[in-house]
Every structure is written in structure tokens, then in C-alpha cells.
Amino acid sequence: MTLIETTALTKRYPAGVVALSDLTLAVQPGIVALVGANGAGKSTFIKIILGLLPATSGTVRVLGLDPAAEPDRVRSRVGYMPEHDCLPPEQSAAELVTHLARISGLPRTAARERASETLRHVGLYEERYRQIGGYSTGMKQRVKLAQAMVHDPDLLLLDEPTNGLDPAGRDAMLDLIHRIGTEFGISIVVCSHLLGEIERICTSLIAIDGGKLLRADTVAAMTTDRDVLLVEVDEGADTLVAALAERGVAARRDGHTVLVPAGADESTYDVILDAVVAAGLPLHRLDRQRRRLSELFTNNQAPEIKGSVLHV
């Protein structure tokens, strides 16, 4: 089943602002990243998926349903975690999540049971009976996540789920999202500005820029290895460059890293090691250079893709 499918989706606001323009894509289940510049149309896209905004033209299918025609059916199968604070401080997490489960259509008993289970899965235990106002940022993010998945959606929309978290909190949240996407079997669309996070947990990526599709591909395909080896020695980088040159390998320095062309076969690895041994240097790193997602945004000549279908 296709998770989200759009054809020539366009959204024009009354003021004349074009938020989405001719967007055609098909997203397969998995953990999908949605990236793009601020104001690139991500929040419009989410609103259309939730059936909160009608598209100006084009079609959109979410889990095979049309959100404009059947918003209730779509919303009962989609969970949404907003970016901003959205929790009433004077309620307990257990009570809020139970209440929202009922709003999603779960009968009273089921709502209570699932709220308690979901809060356990996101890592809130006895704190769930305390008022949310006293929670840390990390705990609040967990409650936001719990309310989004309490009704067992088939698709979770997470908007900047690691916002405001410190490094340890981010780690925990990313692990949790990864588990939800793999063990729990729920597909996830994550909006994030942090490309490092995306590389870590996502299977595929959709990049939108100025309302247009910039790139849609698997993360693996965007982070392929380059034909360059990174070598770091604690001292004597110049000695190493010279030693490599003697062996016919044209290496160059970039800061404290030595960049070596990988060559056709793996013999370069041995040449480097021989050079290091011969010069008696301490070898710190030997690794293939990989493409980074950030290159998507450093290359300014973004290819414009119109009308073509990209399967993610």
C-alpha cells in the first residue's frame, strides 16, 4: 500500500501565495523524512494530509483515502504530533491521553487501557499521574508522541519531534521513533531540520523547496560512499602526504585530514597502511568519505523536477 500519493498537488492561498506547486510523489511505508526550507510548504502539506485544508488542484491520497472527502476516516488512522507546545499544564498525562483517545473514537475502556499502554511505551511510568505542568521538556515531548499514537494510527506525522531536547533527550526520542517505525510497524513522516537525525533514523527522504519537489529518494541512496578515503594521523600529516606521493598516490591535506583517491581496487588501503607504518605515524582514522544529506542544500543548482513520478 502506498502511504501518501499525490498527483500535481497545488495549493494557492487567497493572497496569491503558492505554498505547493505541482507536487507529485508516492511515499512507501517506512520512516520518511520531510525536509525543506522554512515556508517551503511543509505545514501546508501536513494540513492537506489531515484534511484541514483543501487543495487548489491535484489529488492526494493518504492510506488510499482522500482526506478532503473523508477527513474523519483519514484522521482516525493518522496521528499528529505538532511542533509547538500543545499540552494543557493542569492535567495529568494519563487523563489527557485518555481523553484524546476518546476524541479519536476509542470507547471509554479501550481509551483508558491504550492510554496507559502507550504512555508506558514512550517511557512514562508513575509520572503519568502527575500534572503535565511539572514535566521536563523531554517528558512533554513523550506525552505529545503518546497522544499521537494512542489510537494506533497507521501513519504518524511528527513535526520536529526533538525540538528543545538536550542531547540525551534527543537520543532517547530518536531511538523511540526508530522503534515505533520498525518494531511497532507504524509508518512515520518526520519533519526535521536536522539532517544528522534524518540520516540516523529515516529510510527515505522528501525534500521540498518553494512548494516544489526538490528530491525524493532513499536515505541510503543519498549517502553513498564517495571515491575518496579519509585518513587522519595524530601527527605528521605532511609526512604522510609525502610518503604517499613516493608510492604514486596523489593525496592532499584538508585541515587535519588527508584525502586519498580510493582508486579502482582496494590496494590503496594497503598502500596507505604501508606508508603509515614506514613513517611510524599513529593512525587515527581510515574511512571512506560518504555523501552527506547536507549536500542537498549546499548545491544551489537544485534540479527542478516537474510532473515526473518519484517513488520513494
Binding site: K47, L50, L52, P71, D72, R75, S76, V78, G79, Y80, P82, H84, D85, C86, L87, P88, P89, E90, Q91, E95, H99, L100, R102, I103, S104, G105, L106, P107, A110, R114, E117, H121, Q131, Q147, H151, D152, I180, E183, F184, G185
Partner: protein, 284 residues
């Protein structure tokens, strides 16, 4: 001893395959939750002080009246007149409940959580309005029931008790009319601000500003001007409706009953429409 079997139970994530009830159920759940919120049920002690304080004060007054009535053998004040005396309690209860039900959601920005579920903006406004009306009606209607209980207990015949009951229904209906009109205004004010203190001040403020206008107009004006003097104040508009039906009350509206009804309807429908329109701008 029976053979012990060892099992590791699966307490991992379970998919949900039970029923998913529709939008009607969702709206009803929101209504019920809001009704509980209005009385501070399921919240801390602090949330209960104000609503129950109002209920307590209203009940105290009427218990005294009921006691006096039952010793005197006759009612000292009719239900509808009692309601007029308690109109300020309606305002106070609304000033407590409306910010709690409406402003608080705005302040905490919880609306996106609702709108991402099978409740629409209109459902939300409708459920909140219904809960606001119902809670205020209960809080202010309860004292009437206390008076009824006291008087009906003393009634000589079933017929007397029945007559008393119809009078009670009239009183409760009058409460409902006053609550509907004032709750519509209160909801609109509460939907304008996320700060509960401002909302409460605004609701009391509208009452405190509009009531004297009506009073000054009715004291100084004559003829039609006097008949129409109730319209600037929601509470006096409700009192005008009472006059239209019973021919009695704090204000003489002459033959303008239909106008009072029209203004009331416009007020209620208009407030709901404007509140609904306001939520269109709420970011989700």
C-alpha cells in the same frame, strides 16, 4: 502440585483492532469532558473552589428561602423572581467556567490536537457551548430544585405538587433562556483571549457595562425608548423575554416581544458564528 509452566508474556506494542466510533461519539466525549472540566472534576482542588463556591452560595441562599417558605406555609418568592435575583450568579459562574473551557485551550494551544482528530471546528465550538450552557444551567438550576423539594414535600395534594412542578419547569426554562444568551456572549469573550483572567474580567465587564446602560435608559426614557431599554444588556434581554411570556418581570417591553426574541436569537447565533470564524485562524 500442578506442573508449573513458564511463559514470557508479550508486553510489547499491540495493534488496536477494536471499534473506532465516529464523529458523533467524539463530539459527545468532548462535551462530557468539558462538562466535567466546568466543575473541576478530574482536576486539582484549586479548579473546584470557584464553580462549587458559586453552587454553594446559590444553594445557601435558596435553602434559607426554602426554610422560610416551608415555615411560613407559602412561597416568599416565585421561581422566576428568584431567577432574576440570581442573574448575577449566572454571570459569575460563566466568568469562572467559560475561561476554563475555552481560554485555557487557546492558551495551551491544544486545538491542533483536536482538529487532527475527527472533530471539526464547528463540532468543537458546539460541544463547548453545550457544555457551558449545561453546566451553568445545572449550577443555577439546582437551587430551584431545592426550593421545589422543600415546598412539594409540604404540599397537601398531588395536584398542588404538580402545579408546583409546572412552576419549577417555568423557572428552569427561564434560567435556560438567561444562560443561553449570556453563555453565547461569554463564549465569544473567552474565545478572544488565552488568558483566563482577562476573559473572566471581560465577561463580568460586559455585564457591568451593559446592565447600567439598560438601567439608565429605562429610568430616563419613556414610551418605546423605555420598552427597548433592555436590548443593550443580554441579561435584560432575557428578562424581556420573560415579560413577553408571563406579562411580568423587571422590565416592561410593551409589544416588542418579537424584537427581543429576534435579538436573542441573533445574539446566540452570531456569537457561535463569530467564535467559529475565529477558530479558523487558529493554527493547526
Amino acid at each position: 502440585m500442578s506442573e508449573q509452566t513458564s511463559v514470557i508474556h508479550d508486553i510489547g506494542y499491540q495493534r488496536y483492532s477494536g471499534p473506532r466510533l465516529g464523529r458523533g461519539y467524539a463530539v459527545r466525549s468532548l462535551y462530557e469532558h468539558s462538562l466535567r472540566t466546568a466543575f473541576g472534576v478530574g482536576r486539582g482542588m484549586k479548579s473546584k473552589i470557584f464553580p462549587w463556591g458559586v453552587v454553594g452560595v446559590a444553594s445557601l441562599i435558596t435553602v434559607i428561602i426554602a426554610a422560610v417558605s416551608s415555615t411560613a406555609g407559602q412561597r416568599v418568592i416565585s421561581y422566576v423572581n428568584l431567577v432574576d435575583q440570581m442573574s448575577v450568579l449566572i454571570i459569575i459562574f460563566l466568568a469562572v467556567a467559560a475561561p476554563e473551557l475555552i481560554s485555557r485551550d487557546l492558551r495551551a494551544k491544544v486545538l491542533p490536537l483536536y482538529f487532527a482528530r475527527p472533530v471539526g471546528r464547528f463540532d468543537y465550538v458546539g460541544a463547548k457551548f453545550a457544555a457551558l450552557v449545561a453546566s451553568t444551567w445545572m449550577a443555577v438550576g439546582l437551587p430551584l430544585v431545592i426550593v421545589f423539594a422543600a415546598v412539594a414535600f409540604d404540599a397537601d395534594t398531588v395536584g398542588d405538587a404538580w402545579k408546583e412542578f409546572t412552576l419549577l419547569l417555568g423557572g428552569l426554562a427561564y434560567v435556560l433562556v438567561l444562560v443561553l444568551i449570556n453563555a453565547a456572549v461569554a463564549m465569544l469573550v473567552a474565545a478572544c483571549t488565552g488568558r483566563r483572567a482577562f476573559a473572566a474580567g471581560g465577561i463580568v465587564g460586559v455585564y457591568l457595562v451593559t446592565l447600567p446602560v439598560s438601567v439608565v435608559l429605562s429610568e430616563i426614557g419613556t414610551g418605546a425608548a423605555q420598552n427597548l431599554s433592555g436590548l443593550p444588556s443580554p441579561t435584560m434581554t432575557g428578562a424581556g423575554l420573560r415579560y413577553w411570556v408571563t406579562g411580568d418581570g423587571p422590565i416592561d417591553i410593551g409589544g416588542f416581544g418579537w424584537l427581543y426574541l429576534l435579538v436573542s436569537l441573533v445574539l446566540v447565533a452570531g456569537s457561535i458564528a463569530v467564535t467559529h470564524a475565529r477558530y479558523r485562524r487558529v493554527d493547526s
